[in-house]
């Protein structure tokens, strides 16, 4: 009996110790000048090399700092990170995968104000991390939405390559022409993925004075009408078929089932890798700038307006002392030209896009080298997909319901907008 008690008691102790070891993680601030270890979050490390590239680049310049990566599941990244932060065991450097979570973390007091980190002048994407005049993260990567086009299918359809002067009406006209030229083949004129951003992202960024925080969603109307017409005319796969068959944009464009694809610039690296691996067909492709709301921003003598969210780095509010200095230094490095060059080498569009960086980007094998592609990658005014606000997540969900209702054809756009505006009044308010 006694022996049983001893065993039970010691097991309970072991369990308690193990549990408490799961708790607090941040080790004590390193002593001044001593070696510092920073932990940084990341996802899919095997297929997403950018975190390791940043860590290696910084460690090469700062031998007394060690940057360790902490891997998270990409799908549940923000949920898992939230749980870790709430438990006090979050990483020191927090990669901001989605801009809409920045305000959640900031309001929860989880992020350090990093306004004092020095950034290069021409870096893009900083406004996404601006809350009440202070900065809570530093962008290192900035993707922008562009049009990918398949030159072989263009030739086959007998349609001229884009020249960078498109408005959305020109784009729709071209897609119809491509569909007509490709009739009888398995290819469509274009492919539009199911995400709400494929329609709303452009509308929110391009329509003058559009602001989803105002609760006025009328600006979405003409963007939806255009897309619905393309669906009806069978110039692109319709939303319902896309959902039922779980189509992927990589497959549709990579296997030449669509002559055009509106997508973020992250797809460049994927497409090159898939062509090299034989997962995608081998064909010539190029990139055209995003079609514009009207002619005032269209053409290669203008700066086209598009959208895209940056990916940035924030610092855990629990980090202090010498560790905080090192973390800020790391953020400054991630935004620097050195880091931008190493990111460009692996096919990622850095937040800092100067001539040297663009040149490096196009040195990557498999990248198209025509002038329009270079223009599209290097010249654009990229606005955040969503404003940084605590209301953004809820508004996005309302607009997602609008998107599925309209695109599936179960509700006309006019009444869907009215319903969304009503829900805004009811659920978001002031």
């Amino acid at each position: 009996m006694k022996r049983k008690f001893v065993v039970a008691a010691s097991m309970a102790m072991v369990a308690t110790l193990a549990l408490s070891a799961c708790g607090g993680s941040s080790d004590d601030a390193a002593e001044e000048g001593g070696p510092v270890t920073l932990s940084m979050s990341g996802w899919s490390l095997a297929t997403t090399p950018e975190f390791q590239v940043l860590a290696d680049g910084y460690m090469a310049q700062n031998p007394d700092v060690k940057v360790e990566l902490k891997e998270y599941d990409p799908v549940n990244y923000n949920t898992l990170l939230t749980a870790d932060l709430a438990a006090g065991s979050g990483p020191d450097i927090i990669v901001q995968k989605e801009v809409k979570f920045v305000s959640t973390f900031q309001e929860g007091g989880q992020l350090v104000d990093v306004t004092d980190v020095e950034l290069p002048d021409d870096i893009g994407g900083t406004e996404a991390y601006d809350i009440d005049g202070a900065s809570y993260a530093v962008p290192y990567r900035q993707d922008s939405w562009v049009v990918f086009y398949n030159k072989a299918l263009y030739d086959q359809a007998g349609v001229e390559y884009p020249d960078g002067s498109w408005t959305w009406d020109d784009f729709a006209e071209t897609e119809e022409a491509l569909a007509a030229g490709l009739e009888g083949t398995a290819a469509f004129g274009g492919y539009q993925h199911g995400w709400q951003s494929t329609v709303q992202g452009f509308a929110n960024a391009q329509v003058p004075d559009a602001d989803i925080l105002s609760g006025d969603f009328g600006h979405l109307k003409e963007y939806y009408e255009r897309v619905l017409k393309l669906q009806d005319d069978k110039a692109q796969v319709d939303f319902n078929t896309r959902n039922a068959n779980q189509l992927t944009y990589q497959g549709e464009f990579g296997k030449q089932k669509a002559a055009m694809l509106t997508m973020g610039s992250w797809f460049v690296a994927t497409l090159i890798a898939q062509q090299a691996a034989g997962e995608a067909d081998d064909f010539d492709w190029g990139i055209a700038p995003a079609p514009q709301y009207d002619e005032s921003t269209a053409g290669i003598d203008n700066v086209p307006v598009t959208f895209g969210d940056p990916t940035g780095l924030g610092i855990n509010a629990a980090v202090t002392g010498a560790k905080l200095d090192a973390a800020k230094d790391f953020l400054a490095y991630a935004a620097s030209e050195d880091a931008a060059l190493s990111l460009a080498e692996i096919g990622i569009t850095p937040a800092l896009l100067n001539d040297t960086v663009v040149e490096t980007y196009f040195e990557l094998e498999g990248t198209p080298d025509d002038e329009l592609t270079e223009f599209a990658v290097s010249t654009h005014k990229t606005l955040p997909e969503n404003p940084t606000s605590s209301k953004t997540a809820a508004i996005q969900n309302i607009l997602l319901d609008l998107h599925t209702a309209v695109m599936s054809g179960s509700e006309p756009i006019g009444s869907a907008i009215d319903a969304a505006e009503e829900r805004f009044e009811n659920e978001i308010g002031d």
Binding site: T82, L85, G108, N240, A244, T404, S410, A419, E427
Partner: protein, 318 residues
């Protein structure tokens, strides 16, 4: 260790034949204490898990529903503000109505299909074990796989279901998951298909307990098959039907996984159910206080309906 103790206990008769008065009393109280401890030790592992993973979170949930907690920082007390907001929230109202709609279709349909299957497979047919297994299969299949396959089957233009309907001359077959009118019935079809095997097993177990003599007596009295079903089988099955109805109701109110993987509440809000409303508010919009309030509302809905069913059952048994 437990085995030795159990054997010891079993070896000791609960009441010794003629014990000396005092020591017998002491022994009996020691025995009772020991039995109690033994009982506790048996349920302790399960209870610990339950307390740690269910009971404590539920108690915390009630507290959180009265705060504006958003994961981080302190949870500020807001009284019943979350519940007031719920009452005025149009999306929550839609989710409640959709949940009731789902339940109204799913409960009777699954009940009838599962009972029908059980009656059919209660006969001594050749290969009955195979059919029982086949009917149970959907229940143990991965929900994500189910969703992907049914999505394909329901595809409005190219899906086999609509192909068949067109073959039989229906000109405009439903849009199923793509139509706000048909999405919920489509989900109900899939969930009935998935759940029927499980409830069939429960009914099969119930059917084994129906006394054979009653059937024979009824047959001798000249009762038809249908009369025997309604007057012998169904009344004898009451404990099972009660259990099945209660479980079906609670599970229908809690429906979440199938909706999330099949429609995500869409198109629009046509299949938004309470559990998904809670998930969206909590995990997507970080309003955990508000999501907790919605969970409490769902909890009470389940409790009220279950209590009502218990009372009804009691009244009927009397």
């Amino acid at each position: 260790m437990a085995t030795t103790t159990a054997t010891e206990v079993a070896a000791q008769p609960p009441v010794s034949p003629a014990p000396p008065a005092v020591s017998g009393k002491r022994r009996r109280s020691r025995l009772r204490r020991r039995n109690t401890l033994l009982g506790w030790s048996f349920i302790l592992p399960n209870f610990l898990g339950f307390a740690l993973l269910t009971l404590v979170p539920i108690v915390v949930l009630f507290y959180m529903s009265l705060t504006n907690w958003n994961v981080f920082g302190t949870a500020n007390w807001v009284g019943f503000a979350n519940f007031e907001r719920l009452i005025g929230d149009g999306s929550f109202r839609i989710s409640v109505l959709n949940t009731l709609y789902y339940s109204a279709l799913h409960i009777p349909l699954t009940f009838v299909v599962a009972l029908g299957l059980a009656l059919l497979l209660n006969n001594k047919l050749r290969g009955v074990a195979f059919f029982r297994t086949a009917a149970f299969f959907p229940y143990i299949t991965s929900i994500v796989a189910i969703a992907i396959v049914w999505n394909l089957l329901f595809s409005p233009d190219y899906g086999p279901i609509n192909e068949i309907l067109r073959f039989f001359g229906m000109e405009n077959p439903p849009g199923w998951l793509t139509s706000s009118d048909w999405a919920m019935p489509a989900v109900v079809i899939v969930s009935t298909w998935r759940d029927m095997g499980y409830y069939m097993i429960l009914f099969l177990a119930g059917l084994q307990t129906v006394p054979r003599e009653l059937h024979e007596a009824a047959r001798v009295d000249g009762a038809s098959t249908i009369q025997r079903f309604f007057n012998v089988t169904l009344p004898s099955l009451r404990p099972t039907t009660f259990f099945v109805t209660v479980m079906l109701t609670i599970n229908s109110f809690k429906i979440f996984d199938l909706i999330l993987v099949m429609t995500e509440g869409g198109p629009g809000q046509s299949t938004l159910v309470i559990s998904q409303f809670i998930y969206t508010k909590g995990f997507e919009e970080s309003q955990f206080g508000y999501a907790s309030a919605a969970s409490v509302a769902l909890f009470f809905m389940c409790i009220i309906v279950t209590v009502a069913q218990f009372l009804l059952n009691k009244k009927r048994s009397v």
